[in-house]
Amino acid sequence: MTLRPASPEEVGAAVRGAAGAGARLLPRGGGSKPALSTPAEGVASLDLSGLSGVLEYAPEEYTFTALAGTRVAAVADLLAERGQYLPFDPLLAPQGATLGGTVAAGANGPGRQRYGGVRDFLLAARFVDGAGSLVRGGAKVVKNAAGFDLPKLLVGSIGRLAVLVELTFKVFPAPEAYATLAAAYPGLDAALADVVRLAASPLELHALDLEPAGTSGWTLWARLGGLAEALPARITRLRDFLLAPGGGAMAAEVVAAPADEELWQRVKGLDWVPPGRALVKIPLTPRRIPALEARLARLHGVEARRRYSAGGQVAWLAWPVAAADPWTAELDALLRDLDLSGLALLGPPGPVRLGVDPGAPLACRVKRALDPHARFLDL
């Protein structure tokens, strides 16, 4: 069953109606993250693509408000007309990702390196709770400390606490120009050493991604953005920094516009993920990457494609969908061993929260408060 509300009020009615029908609801935006939006047997899909449109955009305030089903790509175009952008680089915009899905999945792209993730740019949210009430949290201004920060709570809530219907974001002026340095390393240790070195340096990177290259090599992608006149000197400095004697980089190549833009569009669109693979987000820190790499290397018959983003703060793992049921069992166990957690974005429906979940005791109480009758799926 699919419900297609056309207004926030209709979302409320749909949630209240679901109570009578005894069905549980799973919100869906653009469907770009199928692991999170494909309903299993007996679950009704709440299609929010009808809730689309930018309601307010005040470039001088650095804010806009839009319905949750609005596509990220449409918003990005609108912001670009005024030289602004969503600095956390929402993922999967070309595939139809919506603002609501981006918030609910916490789907930050490589740009989260510079100014933060969606949690840092979400100012206000209207949502429908499990009782079908239309609720607002936060305020449409860039600074606010009134009441509980419900918008932040809903980041990452994957449609299981409430249905997002309207969102207000902070935006920033977009960098005038970008360039990227691609540095090659013989091994992981050398590459990670430079990730740490860069993180402590005054160099302000817009993205810092790490990716395996060949059998044992690694590529570090470091992106700079800012005023066009300052960029050549900055990229030279970054190059000198990475190629300084004693450093681990073997070579470093500048990727200038327009190749730079194409390169990062492919990353934001997850073009590197092989077709048919699931994609799992795993928050970590650079220090925990070697242990994860060691475990992945020991897997039999599984070649996990992966990419580390935001200076080694998140691993994106393209995982083969096994015939086993559930397909996530092996990865779930691996993450538990490493005391890591994960969230599947791409892949078949099924368990999407993997590994450890230390926040569960508090999350359960919050779930009871927002969705006491379990109209939405379990957390």
């Binding site: 001088e60 009430s133 400390a145 009134a146 009441g147 709570l153 993180a199 230390p358 005791p361 508090l362």
Partner: protein, 482 residues
């Protein structure tokens, strides 16, 4: 549990020097930096370990005794005011930096660690902790977390919430939970985001994992003088429209300039109707290029005087005047109330002229010092508490300013929190349904309403409203109300 039995149980946790219950010992804890409120707690305990905090919260839960966790008591919203006959858990002795990890750029601290101490400890590694409330030399991280404290750099760098990675906390029923992690990223509902800014209602933070940032390589600061407040406000709009992202944009009006000059001789142009301070920070080459553009914008904005800080000493002098403005205004008047409303930046001019009109109507002087970059107003309402009815007039004016902020599409608080001061106004900003959800969350975590009872939500017992002078620390010039 009877009162005597509760104190006996408490004495089982704390040796006598760390458990205060005699009236004279309790007096210093009766109020926080919002001195208009005062309440007498039953006792104050001074834990030295997280286990003692947990045991105390569990005891309160069993006995049904409400408690307030308190750091240095610099809350401007009455957030750390004791609950009448409740317990104060003073966390200043939990002041260890448990871990400083420069490679992972994080620090794990106890809640009683003073904000500035984190940056001091991180400095040898070229790192710092970004949120900088003006009381940062005394205020503690536990309080910063509870109230999502801000500072002068929020537009670019965010508030406390944007810098907390993980938390270990004890919930009001004594359950200890771990929220977040050491990563900037997370999966699942953002529980750290919920806890930060919950004003102590959801429990007590025991360990806080903070994100550290590399110190900006270069700061470039400019001071511009205008002959009207409106012109300074327009200049802010021009800077924003230029595509620059300053680390700070601050405005002071005539009364605030006068006060700052009298107090610290910052060398401000005294005759100015408004001063604008704009600061850029970041990578040197980038900042130099941006500063050239900034100066073009400022010069075209109608400023009659533009001063560029040529060295660090001059930069610090510019900031000294700004940072001391609040306590300096205290010299102009025996008492004042600090307001903390937020309006959309485009409404700044309208808000300021309306505040001027309201002040005149109430026969009260109002000084304005504010974070213009994020629309966070700090009108200082001057009054003399010895004058009959003056406090009531000041409070009425403060309330009208809050309503003005709501009407203009903003918020009743940018960084001080709702606390005791603004709890009657929260329902004016939020609907019944919004309030119900917040209450439901609290109820699911603390059905007895033990943790910081009486704050944030309207109703509950109201303590006596008293006039009194500034906070003792403020009198000493160690904290300011910002």
């Amino acid at each position: 549990m009877e009162a005597r039995a509760f104190l006996t149980s408490l004495a089982g946790i704390y040796p006598p020097p760390r458990m205060l219950w005699r009236p004279a010992e309790l007096a210093p804890y009766e109020s926080d930096a919002l001195t208009a409120f005062r309440a007498r707690p039953r006792a104050v305990v001074l834990p030295e370990t997280p286990d003692e905090v947990v045991a105390t919260v569990r005891l309160c839960h069993r006995a049904g005794v409400p408690f307030v966790a308190r750091g240095s008591g610099t809350s401007l919203s009455g957030g750390s005011l004791p609950i009448e006959d409740g317990l104060v858990i003073g966390l200043n002795r939990l002041n260890r930096i448990l871990r400083l990890d420069p490679a992972e750029r994080l620090a794990v601290v106890e809640p009683g660690v003073v904000n500035l101490e984190v940056s001091k400890a991180a400095a040898p590694h070229g790192l710092y902790y970004a949120p900088d409330p003006s009381s940062q030399s005394v205020c503690t991280l536990g309080g910063n977390v509870a109230f999502n404290s801000g500072g002068a750099h929020c537009l670019k760098y965010g508030m406390t919430s944007n810098h907390v990675l993980g938390l270990k906390a004890v919930l009001p029923d004594g359950e200890v939970v771990q929220l977040g992690s050491e990563s900037l990223e997370g999966v699942g509902p953002d529980l750290v985001g919920l806890f930060v800014g919950s004003e102590g209602l959801l429990g007590v933070a025991l360990e806080i994992t903070l994100r550290l940032l590399p110190k900006p390589e270069l700061y470039r600061t400019v001071l511009a003088a205008y002959d009207s407040l409106g012109a300074a406000g327009d200049a802010v709009a021009r800077v924003v429209a230029s595509g620059l992202l300053p680390g700070a944009m601050e405005i002071m009006d005539r009364l605030a300039i006068e006060a700052a000059e009298a107090a610290v001789h910052a060398g401000y142009p005294r005759e100015a109707a408004a001063l604008l301070i704009v600061e850029l920070d970041g990578e040197a080459t980038q900042v130099e290029a941006e500063f050239t553009r900034l100066l073009e914008v400022i010069r075209a904005s109608g400023a009659y005087e533009v001063r560029v800080a040529v060295d660090e000493a001059e930069r610090l002098r510019i900031w000294k005047g700004r940072k001391s403005a609040f306590s300096a205004v205290g010299r102009l008047s025996p008492d004042y109330i600090v307001n903390d409303g937020v309006v959309p930046r485009s409404q700044l001019g309208r808000a300021l002229s309306e505040i001027e009109r309201l002040g005149a109507a109430h026969r009260l002087r109002v000084a304005n010092v504010f974070h213009a970059g994020d629309g966070n107003l700090h009108p200082l309402i001057l009054y003399d508490g010895r004058e009959s009815g003056a406090l009531a007039r000041a409070e009425a004016l403060a309330g009208e300013i809050l309503r003005l902020c709501i009407r203009l599409g903003g918020s009743i608080t940018g960084e001080h929190g709702v606390g005791m001061e603004k709890r009657e106004y929260l329902p004016e900003m939020f609907s019944d349904a919004d309030m119900a959800v917040m209450k439901n969350i609290r109820n699911a975590i603390d059905p007895q309403e033990l943790a910081n009872r009486g704050k944030m939500f309207p109703g509950g017992e109201a303590p006596a409203l008293l006039h009194s002078g500034p906070h003792p620390l403020e009198r000493e010039g160690r904290i300011s109300r910002e």
